[in-house]
């Protein structure tokens, strides 16, 4: 058997990541290799927009979080990244396509959150309010208390999916242990 190696410990992304990880978005003189347009090379696909705000335990919008979206429905493997420090209201924005349902599961997008004040990143998921039927029968969603389950479901408003993330408090978003 292989000798198990110890994982390298995680540390916070800190407040000063922007010129390294999302430089183009923040206007630094270094090219980003990825941004928030996850569907830029997909032709003839219906795209969706996702936006939201990350709130701390006092419900203040967090202006130094980095949000990564990962999705893979077997057909399209997409990745996007955005920092919450360039919008006046500290919103994040993504353009992507809605993933397909796989094996009857409700479609979803993985979210990884990094921020000052998180020594270890957190994982959550975006489900979609207009997938009511699949959401109702989804095993992962059903395993979560009813009142908390809705924190994972992006509401469709004015053609956009809105997915606000609450780190703490009565509306605390469900985070996963992947």
């Amino acid at each position: 058997m292989d000798k198990k190696k110890l994982q390298t410990p995680s540390q916070t992304i800190g407040p000063f990541f922007a010129y390294g990880l999302v430089p183009t978005q923040y206007g630094y003189d270094f090219d980003s290799w990825v941004d928030n347009d996850m569907a830029f090379d997909l032709k003839n696909q219906e795209t969706i927009e996702i936006t939201g705000i990350v709130y701390d335990g006092e419900e203040n919008a967090i202006n130094d979080a980095m949000v990564e979206l990962w999705q893979d429905d077997g057909e399209h493997r997409l990745f996007g990244r955005y920092g919450t420090g360039t919008d006046k209201r500290n919103r994040f924005f993504f353009k992507t396509i809605k993933p397909k349902s796989v094996n009857g599961q409700a479609p979803f997008i993985h979210v990884i959150l990094f921020m000052r004040g998180q020594l270890l990143h957190s994982y959550t998921r975006i489900y979609f309010s207009d997938e009511h039927k699949l959401n109702e029968t989804d095993q992962v969603l059903n395993a979560i208390d009813h009142e908390r389950r809705n924190t994972l479901i992006a509401e469709k408003r004015d053609g956009k999916y809105v997915f606000d993330i609450y780190m703490q408090g009565p509306k605390e978003t469900v985070f996963f242990d992947l």
Binding site: D2, L6, P9, L21, W33, V34, H110, R125, M167, E172
Partner: protein, 235 residues
């Protein structure tokens, strides 16, 4: 440790979300228990590079932002190997790094520390591991800097690292430290790591990696969570 949590975060090594010594965790750490989802049928593979190629100087922070001269400070070369928990190398995976300059100042607009900026140093770079999981970059040794966490708080010298590995569970953002830093004892970020894990973030000075007349050598090996060694894909 049983089979089912073997691939999870090693709680004897990894910091907890809440560490009160690091004040910003207090309003940002999740407070409710994490949910363990049923395993999905779809593998959560890492991102794909699309229409992007690394620049030839992306891995060399001593040269990638030169305007009118050499950056100030002690040049270093950092070597390391990226593996999974089985020790298998992770080839062709992206590393992104960012750091303060030799005076302890970040280029980031929010950094208010009144140490000087260096017009010839941006402090960010990236590289891919080779077929054996090895990486190398050149940079300037970062300076320590003060911050507001507690009275007379100083961050030890460090370089921020971001890595992907084979899938979403191997994602890692961390910081590399330097040997025998006298600031470790008062640094809550370093202290947040359980004792068993701390030395894993301290690079080793390696005379054999030192490049004559150019740069001092350090080694920093990285172990990503899990057993996956799938490389980054390039489309």
């Amino acid at each position: 440790m049983n089979e089912s949590n073997k691939e999870g975060f090693d709680r004897e090594i990894q910091p907890a979300y809440l560490y009160e010594g690091y004040k910003s965790t207090i309003l940002r750490a999740p407070t409710k228990p994490l949910v363990v989802p049923k395993k999905s049928d779809i593998k959560l593979s890492g991102p794909v590079f699309k229409d992007f190629e690394l620049g030839v100087l992306d891995h060399d922070l001593t040269k990638n932002a030169i305007k009118n001269g050499e950056p100030i400070g002690e040049r270093i070369v950092v070597h390391g190997k990226v593996t999974n928990e089985r020790g298998q190398p992770i080839p062709h995976t992206l590393l992104e790094i960012w750091q303060a300059n030799a005076a302890g100042r970040y280029v980031h607009k929010v950094d208010q520390h009144d140490a000087p900026l260096d017009p010839n140093f941006l402090g960010t770079g990236r590289c891919m591991t080779d077929a054996e999981g090895n990486y190398k970059f050149y940079t300037i040794k970062p300076g320590a800097y003060p911050w507001g966490n507690h009275p007379n708080a100083w961050r030890p010298n460090h370089i921020h690292f971001s890595l992907f590995g084979g899938d979403i569970t191997s994602r890692l953002i961390t910081q590399m430290y330097f040997p025998h830093d006298p600031l470790f004892d008062q640094d809550p970020m370093f202290q947040s790591i359980p004792l068993k894990g701390r030395e894993l973030l301290v690079s080793k000075f390696d005379y054999n990696l030192t490049e004559p007349d150019f740069a001092l050598g350090y080694r920093f090996d990285i172990v990503l969570r899990g057993h996956n060694a799938t490389p980054f894909e390039n489309i």
